[in-house]
């Protein structure tokens, strides 16, 4: 897929009036890869977007690309490190005020720092992954859950990973952060469904992004982030609970989850 939005803009260029409102989305971790693809596609679908990321240059470039493609301000940039938990409540309030509400939140932010071998340990790396992938998600999704529960509306998407489905030898810290995130999202879903709020857990396999370069060994069934973004938006529309992307990972992970420990602990992947 292309990196830029094709000319022509949104298929629905109706001006924004009270009868024709925009849906409002927040993407946490939007500067590249999957987050950036989701931003492009949501903008194309007529969303107003708040885009969050650490790296200002990349974020500004993405916003400029989106806003110039549609010749209007559809994306707003907010530079933020999700490990700065104290900033969350005021920043969220600002975003809700800037967008005039919030309908969809996608937490994509994630880091992957492998320890560097199956017999290596690195607490600093593990801690960073937990701080961003898990606690960062909790710091953001907790106040958002409160908002959505009170408003009795809203959709939350959390990007976990197939890596959270089983603890493996390669990267215990990453597995743990993603397993924790998946469990947290499930708990949110169980809390919020009764209040009319939808929570979707996304478990991507390998995506052809920056992060893929960190992976050791083979990366089967790797897909473009654009394809994963399509799958996610489809699942948002259908209000699904858990999706794997590519979908074949559902079956692969089913097999892996059911591999008896007596075998699994002797494998080296």
């Amino acid at each position: 897929m292309t990196d830029t939005i094709s000319a022509g803009g949104s298929p629905r260029p109706a001006p924004v009036t009270p009868l024709n409102p925009r849906r409002r989305g927040l993407i946490i971790g939007a500067s590249d890869g999957l987050g950036a693809e989701l931003a492009r596609k949501l903008a194309y679908n007529g969303y107003s977007l708040a885009l969050l990321a650490r790296r200002k240059e990349k974020l500004d470039a993405l916003c400029a690309e989106i806003n110039s493609a549609f010749k209007e301000q559809r994306a707003l940039a907010y530079v933020h490190d999700v490990a700065e938990y104290d900033q969350v409540s005021s920043l969220l309030r600002k975003i809700v005020a800037d967008l005039g509400g919030l309908d969809l939140v996608i937490f994509v932010a994630g880091v992957n720092y492998p320890p560097g071998g199956i017999d290596k340990y690195n607490f600093e790396n593990d801690r960073k992954m937990i701080e961003v992938n898990l606690i960062g998600a909790m710091a953001w999704l907790h106040p958002i859950a409160e908002l959505f529960q009170s408003a009795r509306a809203g959709q939350i998407v959390g990007v976990a990973s197939v890596a959270g489905d089983r603890g493996r030898v390669g990267n215990p810290g990453y597995n743990t952060s993603k397993a924790g995130l998946a469990t947290y999202l499930e708990a949110l879903r169980n809390r919020l469904t009764r209040h009319g709020v939808h929570v979707l857990t996304v478990k991507p396999g390998f995506l052809k992004t920056e992060m893929l370069k960190a992976a050791q060994g083979p990366t089967p069934f790797a897909i473009e982030p654009s394809k994963a973004a399509d799958d996610i938006l489809e699942a948002v529309k259908k209000r699904k609970q858990v999706i794997y992307t590519a979908s074949i990972w559902r079956w692969i992970m089913l097999a892996i989850q059911h591999t008896p420990s007596i075998i699994f602990r002797r494998l080296s992947f």
């Binding site: 009036t17 309030r93 005020a97 409160e146 009170s150 009795r152």
Partner: protein, 466 residues
Amino acid sequence: MNLNTHFTQLENFGHSLRAPAYRIRIRTTEDIYEALQLAKKLDLKVTARGTGISYNDASLNSGGIVLDMTGMNEILEWDPASGVVRCESGVTLKQLWQKVVPEGWWPPVVSGTMKTTLGGCLSTNIHGKNNFKVGPIGEHVVEFVAMTPTGALVTCSPNQNADLFYAMISGLGMLGVFTSVTLKMKRVHSGLIVVEARPVPNLNQHLTDLCEDAPNHDYIVGWLDTFARGNTLGRGQIHAARNLKAGEDSNAQETLQLKYQHLPDRLFGVMPKSLLHYFMNPFVNNLGWRAVNVAKYLSALRKHTFKQSHAEFHFLLDYVPNWERSFGKGGLIQYQSFLPKETAETAWREILRLSHRRNLPAYLGVTKRHRPDKFLLTHGLDGFSLAMDFKVTDRNREALSRMLQEFDQIILEAGGRFYFAKNSETSAESARRFLGDETIHRFKKLKQRCDPENLLESDLYRRLFK
């Protein structure tokens, strides 16, 4: 306070617009002050909201703070001898008329629903079916007190702070938050009102009758069959009513009692009216509602005179509880235009025909007779108004919005005006065209004086004045 748990989806009266906001319940003047301070600290905008009965975005504030004024609802002083009443701003017209009617008084101006709060009535400067005779509600306000965003309490009357008096009334809640309102009631000598109903076969006759009947009556209102075309375009029914004179109702002591004024809550004595909107729903579509309009016109052909209680005559919108729900999930929006006598017929012909051509007919049309007034953001003029209710669906939103904006151009060309409790699609440019640069400049100057930090903003304000 954890504001997150105050986050609420608020809607307009017709359930067609939705805007989430942090809702803070207000009980006292101090609560307003604290909420304004909180908003300043958190860099959020504030809008006061009563019962949320506006048809448009007047009491919505997407992503900001909304002050729920309904808890500030005490009638503070009532003097049955002079008919002067002082109320907190969250008092509804329902509370008010029920308080004053047994002693032979009635609010001078009421809206089609009794659910509106006095704060809301003043900020949009509501009019009634007697607008041609007594003007909008603002002309009956003896005095009000409002808190400006700086925290100051200002008392305004036609003689004190007159510039603020004429700007805050009609000022859409953007200059301050009303805390109390003193109003002069109107004497009535009976709980009944004499209504004369008469059919009008076309638009020309409709407007002629509204004009010529007005001087002989206290109230006048027309129903317009929005589906009628060709020679019958604009046909409908006129209801002209007058209050009874002293002595005309020998039974006045009894008819003024509350039990005489209650709207029946059952239809034919059996079916609870609260369920009626479910049964209406299947008819609320182009075909079904066209049939309803035809049936209504046929039943209107008989010219007749009858007596009715004040509540029944005035609060038609409350006759079927939750009737707006019968419009389905997408809700409804109302479009109201005000036109000078001279241009009304041509312009309304044009917009009615346009709605037929687009296959987006209005489901209900209501006409009234008006006169000018001297409030700053006034909608009054020497002419008529036509209010049209449109059903909103997910599929027609875009086309409807476009058509209503085309209506705006036709109305503006004809020298018309708009009322800010209705119409959601009017743009800043259109508002400027009928208000004029000077009015907007004066309004903004007062805004700068009362609210230097721009704390008070509603979706409506951002749409029209930013």
